[in-house]
């Protein structure tokens, strides 16, 4: 359950930037290739943020799409899984998006 320690990093990163101010919202972007499950982060967030200025904050996760570009046929396509294969059969692909694991912004009162 690596999401637990990643959520701990999230809380620390936010506290570093907000000091003791009350945090009312946290916005994340998590891609399908990041290796992190958004639902598991949601589950951990309430536990980890308890007794911190983030307690009760609304967690919003933008679950971005995995996209790749094929260097053979130049097509851009949606990645359905971790196997980086273009529908044309080529494995020579470049991941355009989907690896994001970011805290994009926070809202403080």
């Amino acid at each position: 359950m690596h999401e637990l320690s990643i959520t701990q990093s999230l809380v620390e990163a936010v506290l570093d930037r907000t000091g003791g101010r009350s945090v009312t919202g946290v916005n994340l972007r998590i891609g399908p290739l990041s290796g992190v499950l958004p639902d598991a982060v949601r589950f951990c967030f309430d536990v980890v943020s308890a007794d911190t200025p983030l307690a009760g904050a609304t967690l919003t996760i933008d679950e971005s799409e995995g996209r790749a570009r094929c260097r053979s046929c130049r097509d851009e396509f949606v990645l359905e899984d971790m196997f980086l294969l273009c529908p044309c059969g080529s494995a020579d692909v470049e991941v355009v998006s989907g690896r994001e694991l970011l805290v994009t912004s926070v809202e403080v009162a």
Binding site: S5, G35, A91, E107
Partner: protein, 320 residues
């Protein structure tokens, strides 16, 4: 047990060598993020031996970032990083990677290791794939050729470190408690405790787990993923992140191939579909068959060449 948060020393990370010296007990970061409170630390052992007790408790972060942002909020000149919302709340733009702290510590570890010419291999697998057996045999076969140290990661016990210690090589045990992987901060502390000699080779045996360790860069020179033939040849499909992260995949327990349904070619094909450049070796750490390829891979690792060229030969260092 801590009465404030319910954590116990047993649940934190412990770093120890095998004469029973606990170098450090570190509470996890959730604890650090919780409200600061005091922990009493009774010490009832005698201090007549020469090691340091560095009980560093990383909590009580009194981060008072007094940036003094007193922006007079005139209309149309809002600070783009601090956008006031209509209801008086302020949106602060961060755009920060959630693994940024780990990655920063990993970069420091990498620089520390490179500065000493130490090549470090992060060895990962599911529990029971044969990591420790492989390391014990590797240490024995390279005895007199490479100076080897080991950092062992397990949730509990020093059983694996005991096995390494029987080879006579230096070993540090990290017990992660509830943790399912090693991170760069744990390695940093373990490196301080192990103090590997310049020009040496370090194996980091990660917690047995094919999922979580894949995401945490430790600062290693290369990542070695071990799977055993009893686990099934579909492991790369089931655990793609681990195989994407690998520099080398070792298919272990090859001596059992006659007794199990494991298609080596299929497994290699799947691993290379995920990670086209990955090296793959098939061996048995128990019988020794195929070990030569692995030993050669260690000898030819570019980080060893750098180490040999970059640091003066020392006694206790690299011997060729």
């Amino acid at each position: 047990m801590c009465a404030t948060c319910g954590c116990g020393d047993d649940a934190g990370t412990r770093i120890s060598d095998l004469d029973g010296t606990v170098h450090e007990i570190v509470h996890d970061t959730a604890h650090a993020a919780a409200a600061p409170h005091e922990h009493p630390h009774p010490h009832d052992h005698e201090h007549d031996h020469g090691h340091q007790h560095d009980h560093e408790h990383d909590h009580g972060h009194a981060h008072d970032h007094g940036h003094g942002h007193q922006h007079p909020q005139s209309p149309g000149t809002a600070d783009p990083g601090h956008s006031p919302a209509a209801d008086g709340r302020t949106l602060i733009s961060l755009e920060e990677n959630l693994l940024a702290k780990n990655d920063l510590l990993a970069s420091r570890n990498r620089g520390w290791l490179e500065g000493r010419g130490v090549q470090a291999f992060n060895v990962m697998s599911s529990p029971g794939a044969g990591k420790t057996t492989l390391l014990v045999r590797t240490i024995r076969e390279l005895a007199g050729e490479l100076e080897i140290g080991v950092i062992e990661g397990d949730q509990e016990t020093s059983l694996d470190a005991d096995r390494i210690r029987s080879t006579g090589r230096p070993v540090i045990q990290i017990n992660t408690g509830a943790g399912c992987h090693l991170d760069a901060g744990m390695l940093q502390r373990a490196l301080g405790a192990l103090d590997p000699v310049p020009g040496s080779t370090l194996f980091i045996e990660n917690v047995g787990n094919l999922v979580c360790p894949a995401l945490f860069d430790l600062g290693e020179s290369a990542r070695v993923v071990v799977i055993s033939v009893t686990e099934g040849d579909d492991k790369p499909q089931k655990y793609p992140h681990m195989f994407l992260a690998a520099d080398l995949v070792i298919i272990n327990k090859a001596d059992l191939l006659p007794y199990v349904e494991f298609d080596v070619e299929r497994c290699v094909r799947q691993a290379r579909l995920l990670n086209p450049g990955v090296d793959v070796l098939t061996l048995s750490a128990t019988t020794g068959d195929g070990m030569d390829g692995w030993l050669e891979w260690i000898r030819k690792n570019p980080h060893l060449a750098t180490a040999a060229a970059g640091s003066a030969p020392r006694s206790g260092g690299l011997r060729v």
